[in-house]
Amino acid sequence: MEVLKIATAGSVDDGKSTLIGRLLYDTKSLTTDKLEAIEKTSKQKGYDYLDFSLATDGLVAEREQGITIDVAHIYFSTAKKSYIIADTPGHVEYTRNMVTGASTSQAAIILIDARKGVIEQTNRHFFINNLLRIKEVVVAVNKMDLVDFSEEKYNAIKSDFQTLMGKRDYQDQRITFIPVSALKGDNVVNKSNNTPWYTGETLLEHLEALDMAAVSNVGTPRFPVQYVIRPKTEEFHDFRGFAGKVYGGELSVGDEVVALPSQTKSRIKDIFFYDKKFQTASRRSSVTITLEDEINVSRGDMLVKVGDLPTIEKEFTATISWMDSQQLNAGSKYVVQHGVNKVLAKVEKIHHKIHPDYSGIDEDTSALGMNDIAQVTFKLNKPIFYDKFKNHRTNGSFILLDTQSNNTVGAGFIS
C-alpha cells in the first residue's frame, strides 16, 4: 500500500476546504451521513450549492469564526493510493502550522485565487514548501469559473509564479500548474470541458501518477536507536535487540556498521520485523537489529555504515522556524530533540532573520518572535550525529523544547 501525504497551503477563502471537500466528494469518499450533514447545513445557510468546506472545518471555535486554525488531517483512498491531507491554515500568523504540516509531507498543493493571482501570501507558502524541501508541488489556480476559465489569466499567474521560482533555494523541486474550480469540480478529479486549452492532468490524475520512490527522500542509511530490547527469558537469554526505524536507505544483514558516539564497529547479525527475520531493512521500516559483537548501545545512539559517517559535532548552524509566543533570545537555553536524541543547547548567535516572502533578510536581529524564520548557531552540551538537511531530511532536522514549559517551541533545518 502506498501512502502519500500532502500539505495544503492557501490564504483564507482561496478555497482550500472546498477543494479538499471536492476531492472527497468526487472520489466518493464522503459517507452518507457526512453528505447528509453537508446538504443540511448548506440548505440552512441558504446556499444553492453544496458547501464542501463543511467536510473539513472541524472544531466548534472554528465554525464560529469560519476559519481553520490548526492542522487537520483528512483521509481518502483510491484503488492506487491512500492519501493523507494535512490541511494547514493560510494566515500570516500561522506559519508554524504550515511548517508543521509540511514537515511530514511528500507533496504540497498551493492554492491561488485566479481573481487575485500571486499575492504576498503565495510567496510565503512557496517559501515554506521550498524550505522544507517538499519534492512535489502542485500550484492549483482556483476559482477559474469566476474568470471565465480564461487561459490568459491562467498564463499570467503561471508566469508570475515562475518569477518566484527563480528565487528559490531548492531548485530541484518539481512544480506543476493546474487550472481548477473547486466549487464546480473542474480539473479536480474530472477533466473540465471549460478548459479545452489545458491538456495536462487533473489534480487527482497527477497525484495518482506520482512515483512514490521519486518523491521520497533517499539518502544514506541512518538508524537511530529508540529502545533496547532485552527479554531476559530462557529462550532469548542473551538477546539484545536494537529497536528503531531505518531512515534514508537500506541496511542489510552482514553490513559493517559503526555505533555512535562510541565509534565501535560491528556487523549486522540479524534483522527482525516482529518474529520474522529479513535480509534487508527497508527505508522507514521499524525493525529490531542484533549485532555480531556485544557492544554498548543505548537509546539516542545511532548505527551507520562504515565509511559513511554523519557529522559529529557540538555545534551547528540551522534555519529555524520559531513557534512560541515567548521570544528566542541569544544566550537562551533549550533542549534540542534530534530524532530520538535529546541534548541541552545554547543559542550562540542569531545571524539574521529571513523574510519568508523573499523580500530579503534582517541582519540586525537579537530576538525571534512567533512565526519568525532565522539563521541561528547553537552550542550543545554533547555532540549529536547529523547530516545537512539538504542531504537528509530526517537526520538534518530537529525540534526545540522549552526547558520550563516542555512545549515544542521551534523546528530547525541544519545548514
Partner: protein, 299 residues
C-alpha cells in the same frame, strides 16, 4: 521472492510510536476496551517489543454494560499473551457518588467513563495512556496529536497543542500531567479491518453477522437488552446483524449484515457508505459532542 511484508507505512509508524512511549514514559498503560481498535493496538505492541513482552499493562474502564462476548474475549487474550490487566468499574464511581447514572430513553454510561478513567490514572500515576482513536473517526479528532498532553484534570486544550514535526514526538511533561497516545491516528476504519484480515487477528464474535434480538429506533438498530431502555411500542425483532464498534451496549448500534467471516466484513466495509461513528448513538446527540467530551478528559 522479495519479502516486503515489513514495509506497510502505517504499521511501521505505529510500532515507532509504541517504542517512543516505552522509552519516554515511566508508567504507560494501554487503554483496552475489547474492541477491534484496541485489539489491533495489542498486536502492534507485540510487534514493537518482540521477543520481549509488552512492557506495560492493559486497563479496561468497564461500564458494566458490555457485550458478554467482549469480556470473555478480553480475558482470554490477556491470559494467552501473559499480560497484566487492570479493570476499573464505572459502577464503583456511581456507588461512591462521584457520577450519577443517566436516566431516560438515551441513557448511557459512556460519558461516565471519564471520571473512572481519571481516578484510575491518579491511582496508578500513569503518565501515558495509549488509546485506539483514529483521526478519521470524527471531525474533532482530525486535529488530535499523536502525543496529546492533558492537564491535571485530564483536559484537552485544542488551541494550545504542541506542534508535531517530522517523526519527532515530544513526551516531556510536568508532574501531574499525562499524555494520551494514539498510535493508529493515521489509520482509517478500512485500514484497521484490512490489517485484521491480513494478520489473521482474532476478534470478538459480535463483529461478525449473527442472529440477535433487536429493535429499531431513529433509523438505528439497537440491541434488545436489560441495559438498553426500550419503549413498549418498540417491537423486538430477530435479525442477522453485526457490530462495527463494540462500546457500551447502550450506545452501540448494529448494522444488518450477512458477513460471517473477516473477508466478507472487509468487503462490506469497502462498499459501505455510512461512517463508523454513524453507528455510535452518542455522537448523534450533537455534532459537537465529541469535542465537548474531549475537553472533559474522555479518551
Amino acid at each position: 521472492m522479495k519479502d516486503t511484508s515489513h514495509i506497510n507505512p502505517l504499521e511501521n509508524e505505529a510500532i515507532y510510536i509504541f517504542r517512543e512511549v516505552a522509552a519516554q514514559f515511566e508508567k504507560p498503560v494501554l487503554l483496552f476496551s475489547g474492541g477491534k481498535d484496541s485489539i489491533t493496538l495489542v498486536r502492534l505492541a507485540q510487534k514493537a517489543f518482540w521477543p520481549a513482552k509488552i512492557p506495560f499493562p492493559l486497563m479496561h474502564i468497564d461500564t458494566g454494560h458490555n457485550f458478554p462476548e467482549t469480556i470473555e474475549f478480553r480475558d482470554r487474550l490477556v491470559k494467552e499473551l501473559g499480560l497484566e490487566l487492570i479493570v476499573r468499574n464505572v459502577q464503583d464511581s456511581i456507588d461512591a457518588g462521584k457520577v450519577k447514572e443517566e436516566s431516560g430513553k438515551y441513557s448511557s454510561r459512556n460519558s461516565l467513563q471519564t471520571t473512572t478513567l481519571l481516578d484510575a490514572i491518579e491511582e496508578f500515576k500513569f503518565d501515558a495512556c495509549i488509546g485506539g482513536a483514529r483521526r478519521d473517526e470524527e471531525k474533532a479528532r482530525a486535529k488530535e496529536r499523536i502525543f496529546s498532553v492533558r492537564d491535571d484534570f485530564g483536559q484537552w486544550d485544542e488551541r494550545n497543542q504542541r506542534p508535531e514535526l517530522f517523526d519527532m514526538l515530544n513526551g516531556q511533561i510536568e508532574l501531574g500531567q499525562n499524555v494520551r497516545v494514539f498510535p493508529i491516528s493515521n489509520w482509517t476504519e478500512l485500514d484497521v479491518w484490512s490489517y485484521i484480515e491480513k494478520e489473521e487477528i482474532e476478534i470478538p464474535s459480535i463483529y461478525f453477522a449473527h442472529k440477535r434480538k433487536v429493535f429499531l429506533r431513529d433509523g438505528l438498530i439497537w440491541s434488545h437488552s436489560d441495559y438498553v431502555f426500550q419503549e413498549d411500542d418498540e417491537e423486538v425483532l430477530e435479525k442477522m446483524v453485526r457490530f462495527r464498534t463494540v462500546g457500551d451496549m447502550s450506545c452501540t448500534a448494529a448494522v444488518f449484515s450477512e458477513a460471517t467471516d473477516i473477508a466478507s466484513v472487509v468487503q462490506e466495509i469497502r462498499d459501505s457508505t455510512i461512517s463508523e461513528r454513524g453507528a455510535r448513538i452518542d455522537d448523534k446527540r450533537s455534532e459537537a459532542a465529541m469535542e465537548k467530551r474531549k475537553q472533559q478528559g474522555y479518551f
